[in-house]
């Protein structure tokens, strides 16, 4: 096996067009430079100017078109060939998510997604599969997030048959062995115990909980009591409800010939005709503003971590492209207003920025975030709010607009620099019901954005009166009270509730 791998590696190298580096040319004699003192540098006359460079139009971007077809059992399949490296990868998208967690068993989807893999399949334990896969330098992983589940694999071409069979078994007959259920719930409890370990992560977690609502599956927190109620049968039931062929999209890409891969996949899934009712709609999200300052007091930090913002929108919103441009100007890159003001001019932050969050299916969050030393907390928060007001007060400059649009448009090619990116995006569009040319619609919309558009969407969608401010820091070192921000101040209690005494029922027992 090792030998053939060396050969494969060599093939990969040739395909990559490996060109040995030429020995560096003897440099032309250096220019005479003025002598400078220790503190100063020489001045170089006649430096070439970037303004004088002219760029040829970019070569056409080769955008591959995946082959797609639907199996008799209802599973939709996408195939994309790419022969650069001797590797085959793929993923299955499953319409499920932790939005379907029962309120008293929060964390069920996440645990199911984890034990799906570790618990093995009907024929092999997870531990046996771990060794088998690693002997082939392959991997299979699984997980369930907010509104999608996935099982993915990657392997060398020569092992694709074996690896894809195991992959199929995880989709159709995961076993959820009890020992791995116990392992996953133990780990989930440890994760709860450790959720306040890193002060930097507390702010974003609390920000998201407050804005999405602590009583909704979008914003609630998983506690020990919820984990204590989850048993093996809950996971098995969750899995059986959502993992059925008509509820799955399969994407495979890499070093294969589509016709062969198609017949391989048809054979692989021919016997799997398991059916379930269509998955219902996800619970709807209802935005609710929660203006105010929320402070988690930590006496052990020298910096305050903060998040400021409110609920954002969807990718398909008509104003999304203009909002992206607006948010870029406000806090998108190193050139943005927040970086210029808070970092470059004031020196108050290393980390500072803003983004307009937009989801495919449910709203993202508009957030301005960063961290600053305790003493400059109030001034930094105030400055950020002022910058938001300024963005709404008048039009951005023509230069700012151009930079923001150029940033999106000139880097557009990087959306297509690997076939995997193209495939991922197309499958996501299909999954969330977006048109396949959505990214080109976005590109055209960005091209059309005007200064007036930026001001209009900033006024309409960025709402200073609705700002939720979450700060994690050492309040007594702020120098000034948070109330100076002129908003109601709410302390955040980060205490982790202890598990309730065992009531005897630990999840549904084996049926």
């Amino acid at each position: 096996m090792n030998k053939s791998l060396v050969a494969l590696l060599a093939t990969g190298l040739i395909a990559a067009g490996q060109a040995p580096a030429p020995k560096p040319a003897a440099p032309p004699p250096p220019r005479q430079s003025q002598a400078g003192g220790e503190a100063t540098l020489r001045t170089i006359p006649d430096l070439p100017k970037y303004q004088n460079l002219r760029f040829a139009p970019l070569k056409a971007i080769p955008i591959p078109t995946p082959e797609s077809f639907t199996l008799p059992n209802g599973m939709k399949v996408f195939l994309l060939e790419n022969h650069e490296l001797p590797v085959i990868s793929g993923f299955a998208l499953v319409r499920t998510g932790n939005l379907f967690d029962p309120p008293d068993k929060r964390g069920l989807a996440d645990l199911t997604g984890s034990v799906l893999r570790s618990g093995g399949t009907k024929s092999k334990s997870g531990d046996e599969i771990d060794e088998a896969l690693e002997n082939m330098a392959a991997s299979i992983e699984s997980g369930i997030g907010e509104n999608r589940g996935s099982v993915s694999f990657t392997c060398l071409k020569e092992n694709a048959g074996e690896v894809m069979t195991i992959f199929r078994d995880f989709l159709s007959s995961a076993e959820f062995r009890q020992e791995k259920v116990d392992l996953a719930t133990t780990q989930a409890r440890s994760a709860i115990a450790r959720r306040n370990d890193d002060p930097g992560s507390i702010a974003s977690r609390e920000f998201s909980s407050i804005l999405y609502g602590r009583e909704t599956p979008y914003g609630w927190t998983i506690e020990y009591e919820h984990i204590d109620r989850i048993g093996r049968q809950d996971m098995v039931n969750f899995y059986r409800r959502y993992f059925f062929p008509a509820n799955i999209m399969l994407a495979v890409y890499g070093d294969f010939h589509s016709a062969e891969m198609r017949s391989q996949i048809e054979k692989l899934f021919a016997a799997w005709d398991y059916k379930q009712d269509p998955v219902p709609a996800y619970p709807e999200f209802k935005a609710k503003a929660a203006p105010g300052v929320y402070i988690a007091d930590r006496t052990d930090v020298t910096q305050t971590f903060f998040e400021i913002g409110h609920v954002g929108g969807l990718l398909r919103d008509k104003d999304y492209p203009a909002l992206q441009v607006a948010a870029n100007i406000l806090g998108g890159g190193f050139t943005s207003r927040l970086v210029r003001k808070v970092r470059t001019e004031l020196g108050y932050a290393y980390n500072i920025g803003a983004g307009w969050g937009a989801g495919y299916f449910s709203p993202g969050l508009f957030e301005m975030s960063g961290s600053t030393k305790s003493k400059s907390t109030i001034e930094t928060l105030r400055t950020i709010r002022e910058e938001l007001e300024k963005l709404r007060a008048g039009e951005v400059t023509a230069e700012e607009l151009k930079t923001a649009k150029d940033t999106v448009l000139n880097s557009f090619v990087f959306n297509f620099d690997t076939p995997a990116k193209t495939l991922n995006r197309l499958v996501s569009y299909e999954y969330y019901g977006y048109p396949p040319d959505f990214i080109f619609q976005y590109q055209k919309a960005v091209e059309r954005v005007t200064r007036a558009d930026v001001m209009r969407v900033a006024r309409e969608h960025l709402r200073p009166e609705n700002l939720t401010i979450v700060a994690v820091g050492n309040a007594k070192e702020f120098g000034k009270p948070l109330s100076e921000l002129g908003l109601p101040v709410h302390p955040l209690d980060l205490t982790i509730p202890e598990p309730k005494p065992a009531s005897g029922s630990r999840g549904i027992q084996q049926q």
Partner: protein
């Protein structure tokens, strides 16, 4: 200056990686973090970028330094004489300094260098300063290749240290974020400063707070002049690039940089450790532990066996730390090992990192970790495991070839560390020669208590109780 060019024409994009063979180990004493500070200055523009009037700006920057020199003199005298008499003079100089800085800033086009890169479609622009090296990297659409040559050569040829003292505050904030407000950051800092008595690996790359707060521009200039010479910089370019064109542009732009002597290596050699060291970090967190053993540098003949040993311990879902501590004994939420930490250029550490499960102690985890280590010293690892690791290392290499950014980074770092980018590939042959006996031998040789340093966190309340308990005895 050496260039490594890899053609990959699948998409019209290209990635660049500049590897400067100088890092925080080269920071002079009292100036820890200065390599990192220069890295920040490398984004501040050049004589031709970022100024409305460079000659006037240059004069203003020189004035800032003159006033700062006088201020430092006054502060120094005041410290000596414990003098209140100098207070007024110092205040006046501080006001003058502020004015001088304002004047210099009035010529600045803020963040112009970044703006040019971003507006031209540059992505992934950043830099990092480590113990051994400083790295600058980003990608452009391939019709902008010449722009990269211009921008990158000028920041190494004609950087302007503008907004230095404001950026010093930013760098100070970075330390607050990465170290002071992060229990795990504090733990690693304690580990390094305890494990090394003399070698500069004892300092985190960001430097110590008081050094950062007192950086002077001249110190960053001196570092730049010493270490940013062409022979100390290697550049990787991967993607839609024509090597002939690249060579022509390299000569045109980087050829302007005058050659200089290759800077010296660090002369301080870490003396042998005479026994285990332990350090406690009191922090508001659930417990963490880092266990580190002294190991030789990356040129040691034992280096490949140590890499394989780390894979035996912590590779994927079959590494011993995962299967025993995490999976079977359920002592740990996570348990990791790394063969080369914090760098490989000089003798360093073989690192273990333990994160106990809720209700499990550091003590239990530490003991279980040592049990694994002791077993590796007495019982040979099965051949199947060794074979699996070799297969994995090969496959990992194949995957590294899958991205322009990865290729540019790996090839430059291998070229610098081993004098030849081919080592990225020939290293596999060295791994192939590693036997189960070798793994046992290096475990016996290096994973020994005398060369061990253990750093761990304790919650504030518990450590207070402990103290009271020990005082009561």
């Amino acid at each position: 200056m050496h260039f490594i060019v890899v053609e990959r024409h699948d998409a019209p994009v290209v990635s660049f990686h500049s590897y400067v063979n100088a890092g925080s180990v080269d920071d002079p004493s009292g100036e820890t973090g200065i390599a990192h500070m220069f890295e920040h200055m490398a984004f501040k523009g050049t004589e031709a970028i970022g100024s409305t009037n460079y000659p006037a700006e240059r004069a203003a920057l020189e004035q800032v330094e003159k006033v700062y020199d006088r201020l430092q003199q006054a502060q120094r005298l005041a410290a000596d004489h414990n003098g209140k008499a100098m207070k007024e003079q110092i205040q006046a100089l501080e006001a003058e300094l502020e004015k001088a800085v304002e004047k210099a800033n009035s010529f600045v086009v803020p963040n112009e260098y970044d703006r040019i890169v971003e507006a031209n479609g540059g992505v992934g622009m950043n830099a990092s300063t480590g113990e051994d090296s400083t790295n600058y990297f980003y990608s452009f659409p391939s019709n902008r290749i010449e722009l990269w040559f211009l921008l990158e050569s000028q920041r190494f040829l004609a950087p302007v240290f503008r907004e230095f003292y404001k950026e010093r505050d930013v760098v100070r904030e970075e330390r607050r974020m990465r170290v002071e407000s992060s229990p795990q950051g504090m733990l690693l800092e304690a580990l390094l400063s305890t494990a090394f008595a003399a070698h500069p690996y004892k300092n985190m790359p960001g430097g110590w707070a008081s050094d950062i707060e007192n950086f002077r521009l001249s110190e960053a200039v001196k570092f730049y002049k010493t270490y940013y010479v062409p022979g100390n910089i290697t550049i990787g370019i991967a993607g839609d690039v024509d090597p002939v064109q690249a060579k022509r542009l390299a000569a045109k732009y980087f050829g302007m940089i005058p050659p200089g002597p290759i800077p010296p290596l660090v002369r301080t050699v870490e003396p042998p450790q005479q026994g285990e060291k332990r350090v406690q970090v009191i922090a508001q967190t659930q417990p963490y532990m880092a266990v580190a053993y002294k190991r030789p540098d990356q040129h040691s003949p034992d280096d490949p066996a140590l890499d394989v040993l780390a894979e035996v311990l912590a590779g994927g879902r079959t590494g011993l730390l995962y299967t025993e501590l995490v999976r079977d004994k359920q002592l740990a939420l996570g348990a990791f090992a790394e063969s080369t930490f914090p760098g490989g250029k000089y003798p360093g550490l073989f690192l273990f990192y333990l994160i106990p499960n809720r209700g499990k102690t550091l003590d239990e985890n530490e003991k279980a970790c040592y049990q694994i280590i002791e077993r590796l010293k007495t019982k040979k690892v099965e051949q199947e495991v060794i074979d699996r690791i070799k297969t994995k290392l090969r496959a990992q290499l194949i995957r590294k070839l899958d991205s322009n950014t990865g290729l540019a980074a790996e090839l430059t770092s291998y070229h610098v560390a081993f004098g030849d980018w081919r080592k990225l590939f020939t290293e596999l042959e060295e791994y192939n020669k590693v036997t189960a006996d070798d793994v046992m031998r290096v475990a016996r040789k290096y994973l020994v208590a005398e060369g061990r340093t253990v750093a761990y966190t304790s919650a504030p309340a518990a450590s207070k109780d402990e103290k009271q308990a020990s005082e009561g005895q």
